[in-house]
Symmetry: C2
Subunit: 91 residues, 2 copies
């Protein structure tokens, strides 16, 4: 069964965020009254797992082993069953 | 009034995503049955606007003018009133 995990990876509070600061500076230069920008990653992972429990466990492992650096980042996710597009009409 | 916009910037379908492919390769090397990974950005923008209508308009402009490249990317966002932390107790 196929699953879609939308994983948000954010920098922890207090960790310097040069990308966010650069974006904030750009927005201010365009005239927006921006107080702060924090930049993170949005990863849409489609993967196979037999049931929801194992899918949850797999995503947690993906985050801790590769997707997020636990020293600097936090990860949260939403998991949903991924309906495959009608690629082949197999009976 | 201060607002928080959580802006998701995603690559349009069909646009090559080398970052996502690299992450997918890394996850497969760790043994996960990953079909696909798409990488995007999650930007948390705090900014000033007098009311919700102008805040919505400001975010739409930020996206079209700086945050997303409309040729390759789509942006969507959630807007919420940002409760300022109790930094100073001013009356």
């Amino acid at each position: 069964m196929r699953w879609l995990a939308e994983v948000n990876v954010r920098l922890r509070p207090g960790i310097a965020d040069p990308e966010g600061q650069t974006i904030a500076g750009g927005l201010r230069a365009l005239g927006f009254e921006v107080a702060d920008v924090r930049a993170g990653k949005l990863l849409r992972v489609t993967f196979e797992a037999v049931d929801r429990e194992r899918a949850e466990s797999a995503v947690a492992q993906m985050c801790s082993r590769l997707l997020a650096n636990p020293v600097m980042e936090t990860a949260d996710w939403e998991l949903s069953a991924d309906e495959p597009a009608a690629v082949g009409i197999e009976s």
